[in-house]
Symmetry: C2
Subunit: 347 residues, 2 copies
DNA sequence: ATTCATGATGCATTCGAATGCATTTTGTCA
DNA sequence: TGACAAAATGCATTCGAATGCATCATGAAT
């Protein structure tokens, strides 16, 4: 009995669930740790026979290189941060999904930071430096000072749908101005004369870009006192926005919204609260080309952002900057695609 | 001249943009590296004066502890993975947002993995082990074998809205069955007799749960041949599903959808393709309580998942398991909340 | 003033892989 | 077969912080 107990004891010695390291593999395969390392490194100089032996042992032990150790010694972590301001804005989930997919394809992990308050950015950046992330794609607002920090820390940065006020940084944008101008021109061509705008919040780059472009184009056509209200890019923001515009007592026949979600809210509000027929009584246009905007209850007339191409560009630009230290700041502008929809009466 | 040059030279020596380490801080503050480490560690034994001096120098040098080194030596990375299957399912962005927010509050970073194909799970898990992640929250399907790997690797796992077939694992779920039963009973009470079901895909846990619960309850009420079609939880899946049900030529008056998004698709299809009035001609119910479901064009009768409480629970359970090695597998079920909406004729 | 306990500090080692350099092996060609 | 290039391998060090242990300083208690 005692013997059996004694024999049972050492079955699971000190190996208790410690992960196998390159040393473990090396010992069992009768080679040095360097050999193991080289075996898994891309261009490692290793004899085919040795490699085979190491790979066999590695598989037996379930060996996997420790990413922390690799990152520490090599300076590359194969991790990037994606900064997004609000996932409840229905445009972002699609962007996020595309970004993570493309980054994953390129063997890069995504650290997600979802920002609510402006002030959180600094904490996030702190994490970026601490974790030695290889780069950052930001669809959240960064100050010039914050952008400058990236240069100081030598961390590549690509801005998504925003450009820095003054600092230099790579960016990928949908041409909001051009898109907005196209919408306005189509509305003008169809004979609309009484415009209203439900713009995005002041701190949104694309929001301001769109508002400004619309107002400029309208002014060029001789419309100078176009009423503007602001929403927060949400459904209820759109509803509330329309209510405010209508409260003015003026007769609107075209409302330009800062994004699709507000357009949807505006449409619902127009139908429900004001018994208006869209687009017969009122034309409403949005921006983004999100999925819900195409649902048959809305069919929002809008500009679709080429999300696939934009995310592809953002990822390529980032990877390029990670691999090539000195890549100049570049700005890529993508044209949006007009979506006719059925929420605006057009020529 | 020469003198001046010589003096200018060493201004920027080898310091060229290398990040400050604890050794740099130690040297400049005249203490050992250990002291610096202890200064930043929670319970470190350090004299107030020394701490002050170190903190001052650290601030000057912009020192930040290197997370990789910390993770390597301590075994804790303060990073967890969140696995999500499809962000285009509008229910997930909200979940993801809540999860990241709560995890961030607890000083934990989120590594996002967005899975498309079933097969990708293994690669993701590989990354989890490699990066020594502290834990995983999975809203994606895992096989029993995969769940077992978490035990082997001693990595805490919390499943979100799914339970393992046989393996043991912590999980947080909304009680789909109870919710579905409530919907069915309300439909029955209102006198509906001709039911149809647009279920989710077979490989969805909640999808099957909901379908089964609805069918069981209907069978208990004497309805045995309820037609069932399947969709992929998408808007178009809902449209197509309704079309298929209607193609049967039978007279439906209540359609039970696997989630809100399909309910919305079904509503649009019913109105557009079949000129039906909702809910007068046809009642349609969904599940989840997502934001678009409450838009006034739809007002989907549904069951709202308590996302806040569920994500809070998932995060707490995970953190608890990270901090306390041996926490038993626990399953927490949350009741959904009935949303009356206006897409079903109810008593 | 002496003894001890407590706190503060430093030293040396550890985590796990990558890599420059030295050394050995293999292969090629004359 | 000898000479020499090229490939394969190992050794030792490095990345940056944490921590057990030993040492030293400080203060309290007698």
């Amino acid at each position: 009995m005692l013997d059996e107990d004694a024999m049972d004891q050492p079955v699971k010695p000190t190996t208790l669930a410690r992960r196998a390291t390159s040393y473990d593999v090396a010992r069992k395969a009768g080679v040095s740790q360097s050999a193991v390392s080289r075996c898994f490194a891309p261009g490692g100089s290793i004899a085919p026979a040795t490699r085979k032996r190491i790979e066999k042992v590695a598989a037996e032990l379930g060996y996997r290189p420790n990413a922390l150790a690799q990152g520490l010694i090599s300076g590359r972590t194969n991790m990037v941060a994606v900064l997004i301001s609000s996932l409840t804005n229905l445009y972002y989930p699609e962007v996020l999904e595309e970004l993570t997919r493309r980054l994953t394809e390129r063997d890069t992990r995504v650290l997600l930071f979802s920002l609510r308050a402006e002030g959180e950015v600094d904490e996030v950046l702190d994490q970026v430096w601490r974790h030695s992330l290889d780069g950052v794609i930001s669809a959240a607002r960064l100050s010039d000072a914050q952008i400058q920090l990236f240069e100081d820390h030598r961390v590549p940065l690509v801005l998504y749908n925003r450009v820095p006020a003054k600092a230099r940084a790579a960016s990928v944008c949908c041409d909001s101005a051009a898109g907005e101008v196209e919408l306005v021109e189509r509305l003008l061509a169809a004979g609309h004369r009484d415009f209203g705008i439900i713009a995005g919040p002041e701190d949104s780059y694309v929001g301001e870009e769109r508002r400004r472009a619309a107002l400029d184009r309208l002014a060029a056509a001789g419309f100078n006192d176009v009423p503007v209200v602001r929403g927060d890019f949400s459904y209820s923001g759109g509803r509330e926005g329309l209510r405010q515009l209508m409260a003015g007592g003026l007769s609107l026949n075209a409302v330009i919204c800062g994004n699709d979600q507000m357009a949807i809210g505006a449409i619902d509000c127009a139908r429900e609260a004001f018994k208006l027929k869209i687009p017969d009584d009122l034309s409403i246009v949005g921006f983004d080309g999100t999925a819900p905007a195409s649902w048959s209850s809305y069919r929002v007339t809008s500009i679709r952002q080429p999300v696939r191409r934009m995310t592809e560009a953002a990822v390529s630009m980032l990877i390029e900057r990670i691999e090539n230290e000195n890549t100049s700041a570049e700005r890529r502008l993508f044209a949006g695609e007009f979506v006719r929809g059925a929420s605006a009466r057009l020529a």
